[in-house]
């Protein structure tokens, strides 16, 4: 594990024109997990911890690009996107943030905290029947993160938290576009079971770490911080922690 701090960056595939990944010295840390898995809470706690130690951080996430973020959000209200269009729309949103936020920040030695990354996007596409090999090629432009943490919670727990936090279950997050029968709750459970299976299959290939999300926020945070410590160079950390 200790060596991760020194591993140079690389792309999953052919990468981006005119970007040398080895010159990116910051760290890219990804938190994955469904809505209700506690992602946002954990990212807040992690960034508190990092900033207390003096690290500069920046955040990215889905539908946050300047280029298409707003229009993607709007298009999803209409429920009329077909799977390939949806997939490419998100890929455009991702690429804009990759080039305009992630890479410049990594060049400046920032720690980039990604509130979900290509794995959620790939899992959604695969759940919708899109060819996994194609999706992997599309995301050949993506940087391999320094660490990926997958906050894992059972579909029933996720549903409870969505009811509590949002007052209901979202159309897309319930996979309503791809299911013909069942009520919203049943669809949500089935859809998340499917997504979790896909994550399970991806886990081995992409090597991310599962974190059990059914525990108290502070317990999860301690767990996360103990793992993040490994990817910060020991020299840098030296003396920063009380």
């Amino acid at each position: 594990m200790e060596n991760i701090a020194l591993t140079p960056k690389k792309f999953y595939g052919q990468g981006l024109p005119n970007v040398d990944p080895e010159k990116l010295n910051g760290k890219l840390i990804v938190i994955e997990g469904a809505d209700g898995s506690g992602r946002t809470t954990q990212i807040n706690l992690l960034s508190d911890w990092l900033e207390r130690l003096g690290y500069a951080t920046t955040r990215v996430g889905l539908k946050r690009s300047k280029l298409v973020g707003a229009e993607l959000e709007e298009a999803m209200q209409g429920n009329t996107l077909s799977p390939i269009t949806l997939s490419l729309f998100y890929a455009t949103d991702f690429a804009d943030q990759l080039e305009k936020t992630i890479i410049p920040a990594l060049k400046s030695d920032f720690i980039v905290l990604a509130d979900r990354y290509i794995y959620t996007l790939m899992a959604r596409d695969i759940a919708r029947g899109v060819d996994p090999a194609w999706v992997r090629e599309v995301y050949g432009i993506a940087l391999v993160p320094d660490a990926v943490f997958y906050l894992k919670a059972g579909p029933e727990l996720l549903a409870e938290r969505n009811f509590k936090n949002k007052g209901g279950l979202d159309y897309w997050e319930s996979g309503m576009d791809i299911q013909r029968s069942g009520d919203r709750y049943e669809c949500f459970i089935k859809y998340h079971r499917k997504i979790q299976n896909i994550f399970g299959e991806m886990q081995e290939h992409y090597g991310f770490e599962s974190i059990s999300a059914g525990r108290a926020p502070n317990t999860i945070s301690q767990d996360l911080i103990s793992k993040v410590r490994f990817i910060l160079s020991p020299l840098e950390l030296n003396g920063r922690e009380e």
């Binding site: 269009t85 080039e99 791809i178």
Partner: protein, 230 residues
């Protein structure tokens, strides 16, 4: 709703595409093909390379504010095309139409390659789209294309002229360089994708005769007659 990629030969319809530089006369030629097929009573549909309503605003803003990099330029246009493809082109091919496309995925291949995107990556982005049954490449000498375009329009746009590539601060010079590189890409693809290369510089009716001949040779048109009288 399924996202399985369809192969062209599985579809009852036929796709005919025209490609070439601006000013190559391809739009005139595909228009004449459309008129011919319509007047002869065939099921035909014309589609052109422009924005679907879905992304119109993003594409417009992206261009106006010059937010686009080669990668996002490629992706936003591929998304845009996917919407048009899944809503229009693919259903028409399933329904047994002859679909005429004024520019198709090769326009993107050429543009994105010139901008420095990895060619294989761009090709794989578009791998959901069937390849045309017939693709015409209207090849025009660069000088002729430029003089046609310059006389026909007011002002070149930033991305259209390849100004994002930094070839030249002069927009006209940049456009020339960009078009020259586009032509090289088209020529390179001619063999790879089996384009039918049509050398322009002859009167439209002579070109059209050649084009119609190629179509008749390759497509059994009688299968595309309307079943009911119109």
């Amino acid at each position: 709703m399924t996202a399985k990629f369809v192969e062209g030969q599985e579809l009852p319809g036929k796709l005919i595409a025209v490609e070439g530089l601006d000013g190559s006369g391809k739009s005139t030629q595909i228009h004449l093909v459309k008129r011919w097929l319509e007047l002869e009573g065939y099921k035909v549909f014309f589609t052109e390379w422009n924005s679907s309503p879905l992304l119109r605003q993003s594409v417009k803003n992206g261009k106006r504010e010059q937010l686009l990099t080669p990668t996002t330029f490629a992706l936003i246009h591929c998304t845009d095309f996917a919407d048009r493809y899944e809503r229009q082109i693919l259903p028409l091919l399933h329904a047994g139409y002859i679909v005429l496309a004024d520019r198709y995925i090769f326009t993107a291949f050429a543009r994105d390659a010139v901008r420095g995107c990895d060619r294989d990556w761009v090709k794989s982005l578009y791998s959901y789209a069937v390849h045309p049954h017939v693709t015409f490449f209207f090849d025009v000498p660069l000088e002729m294309a430029l003089s046609r375009i310059m006389s026909g329009r007011a002002k070149l746009k930033h991305y259209e002229a390849g100004m994002d590539m930094g070839y030249s601060p002069d927009i006209l010079q940049s456009f020339k360089t960009f078009q020259g590189k586009m032509r090289e890409e088209y020529l390179r693809m001619t063999e790879e994708f089996g384009f039918i290369k049509i050398d322009v510089g002859r009167p439209p009716d002579q070109l059209q005769k050649e084009v119609r001949g190629h179509i008749q040779e390759r497509i059994d048109l009688e299968r595309y007659k309307w079943k009911t009288s119109r």
